[in-house]
């Protein structure tokens, strides 16, 4: 064996191991973060039951005795996310249909790039636009005491979910095989009838996954939401009330709390809840994505 080939082999070996290490490091970090989250957070449940924590209506972390009930924040996050889904899903689906089925090739590229760029805008910038445009608009439009409402958060989040939702849904619709379109048109269906009777049904699992991944993407979103939702820890009754989300609570209070205190642990416990929700959403979305690959083989 020549020196050259031997050197190449060693080089290959080193590269292979380096890549392996990098991969392992990623897994390791995830595990470490998870362990850390559990270690800091689970302590909370030694002095408050999981039920009281999740369903408690009062969040008074620094009064004595302190109260750690996060129901209002779960509702806050839920309402903002639900609002974002209600606003974002029809719009996102319509864009996905337009891009995959209607737009001419040139425009298609422009639109796809545009939507990807939307993902590149830092969330604090979106929050800033929210404060200066959306919040005042809502205050005037609905004649509210303040425009800082769940709706404002939902509007921003629907924008932020858009890139994920649109690109995955577009993918799902585009990968419906062409032969179905030919079959439908040959039966006298119009293009639109093909889209909603065949393409959308064939792509349904992928579309569900797109929506869920979009939601999963924004439920953990913090900055933009914190800037526009008013952050009142009350159980909201409508989209037009201020809310406080789980993420905003952690972000706002983590800096002020004493490391190792019960309050500190409770914030980590919120983190665990958030993690569990996000994990569940991603898991379900993933199984839908898998199903869509199977049906569209």
């Amino acid at each position: 064996m020549s020196l050259r080939t031997r050197l190449t082999r060693i080089w290959e070996f080193l590269i292979e191991k380096a890549i392996l290490l990098a991969g392992l490091a990623c897994v390791l970090f995830v595990v470490l973060i998870f362990v850390f989250l559990l270690r800091e957070g689970l302590r909370t449940f030694s002095h408050i039951s999981l039920g009281d924590f999740l369903l408690g209506r009062k969040w008074y972390p620094i009064s004595s005795p302190p109260r750690f009930g996060i129901l209002s924040m779960i509702c806050g996050s839920g309402m903002v996310t639900l609002g974002a889904a209600l606003l974002g899903v029809p719009l996102g689906l319509a864009s996905a249909i337009y891009i995959s089925e209607v737009a001419p090739p040139r425009l298609k590229e422009v639109l796809k790039t545009g939507i990807e760029l939307l993902a590149a805008i830092p969330s604090v910038v979106i929050g800033f636009v929210g404060i200066t445009v959306v919040v005042p608009f809502l205050r005037v439009a609905f004649d509210l005491p303040t425009g800082q409402t769940a709706l404002a958060g939902a509007i921003l989040l629907s924008l932020m979910a858009m890139p994920t939702t649109v690109s995955i849904a577009e993918d799902a619709i585009s990968s419906v095989p062409r032969r179905y379109r030919e079959a439908a048109l040959a039966l006298g269906a119009t293009h639109w009838e093909y889209i909603y009777r065949v393409a959308l049904k064939a792509a349904a699992p992928g579309i569900v996954a797109a929506v869920m991944l979009g939601i999963g993407r924004v439920i953990g979103e913090t900055m933009a939401v914190m800037m526009v939702t008013g952050n009142a820890a009350l159980i909201p009754h409508s989209l037009l009330q201020p809310v406080r989300t789980m993420t905003a609570t952690i972000a706002a209070e983590m800096g002020e709390t004493v490391k190792g205190s019960d309050h500190y642990a409770a914030l980590f416990a919120i983190g665990i809840v958030l993690f569990a929700i996000t994990f569940l959403i991603n898991f379900v979305a993933d199984s839908f994505l898998h199903r869509s690959r199977v049906t569209l083989r």
Binding site: L185, L187, A189, K201
Partner: protein, 269 residues
């Protein structure tokens, strides 16, 4: 398969008058961009007969078939010269109605392409699109169409099953059933048996024979034996030209053009 399909084929379509050709193609030229795929084709297809188009791969059989229901319109950059009349109306006239055309002319593709929906929804598709049946009438339509292709007995308990789980032959039969629900007059079939095994091919050929009692069928095949078995009229194509068009027995036993003769003999060895 004992009970003939005649009684179960959807009624309602007025039979084409026997003196009028189902399809008349006159000096048809067809271009994919600069490439001329059909050269000066003229032929007429008689009603309630099976007309086969044969010829080597790439000679333009599919292109000719697809210009009869304007499926080529989906391809960018195509150009058509000449006239094609289906049931007496010029389908390339500016005022021609594409949807109406495709309810008169159904197409079966080379590869079975049932929708990724249930068996029932596949057959119901056309009636839902054209709003021609619903409720009990729809159930009846689905049964009739499936019976016409001899699938009803096999599938009546599995109507909710995904069409993609059927065998290839069943899928192709389902595609034909889906077509019959449109109540077309003319059925275009583009190598409908090319993905099927010999037994399934035999079954489908029998089905064509039954359907030809009521429908006009144009079938493209590169299998000459099949053309000889199923068709009454036959056209031989070569490099975009229709070399010869005649009764099937004349094409196979007494071809007028030496190129037809070469092709037929070449294949029989």
């Amino acid at each position: 398969m004992s009970d003939p399909a005649v009684s179960t084929i959807p009624p309602g379509d007025l039979p084409i008058p026997s003196d009028q050709p189902a399809v008349e193609v006159d000096q048809l030229n067809f271009f994919y961009g600069d490439f001329q795929a059909l050269k000066d084709i003229s032929l007429s297809v008689e009603p309630r007969r099976i007309t086969a188009l044969i010829g080597p791969s790439g000679c333009g059989k599919s292109t000719l078939l697809r210009s009869l229901n304007r499926m080529n319109d989906l391809i960018p950059g195509v150009r058509v010269e000449g006239t094609v009349k289906v049931l007496g109306s010029d389908i390339y006239a500016p005022e021609a109605d594409l949807v109406a055309l495709r309810t008169k002319v159904g197409m079966v593709f080379q590869r079975p392409n049932p929708f990724p929906l249930s068996v029932y929804e596949n057959v119901a598709f056309a009636a839902r699109v054209h709003k021609t049946a619903r409720g009990a009438a729809m159930d009846e339509l689905v049964e009739r169409c499936l019976a016409s292709v001899f699938l009803w007995d096999d599938l009546k308990r599995n109507l909710r099953k995904s069409a993609l789980d059927l065998s290839l032959e069943q899928q192709q039969r389902l595609c034909i059933a889906r077509l019959l629900a449109v109540v077309p007059d003319l059925l275009l079939m583009d190598e409908p048996c090319s993905t099927l095994d010999p037994a399934a091919t035999q079954g489908l050929e029998d089905l064509m024979g039954e359907l030809a009692k009521q429908y006009t069928i144009v079938i493209v095949t590169h299998n000459m034996q099949q053309a000889a078995r199923v068709s009454q009229d036959c056209g031989f194509m070569l490099l975009g030209e229709l070399v010869e068009f005649d009764k099937t027995e004349n094409i196979f036993e007494n071809p007028q053009d030496p190129r037809t003769d070469d092709y037929i003999r070449g294949r029989y060895g």
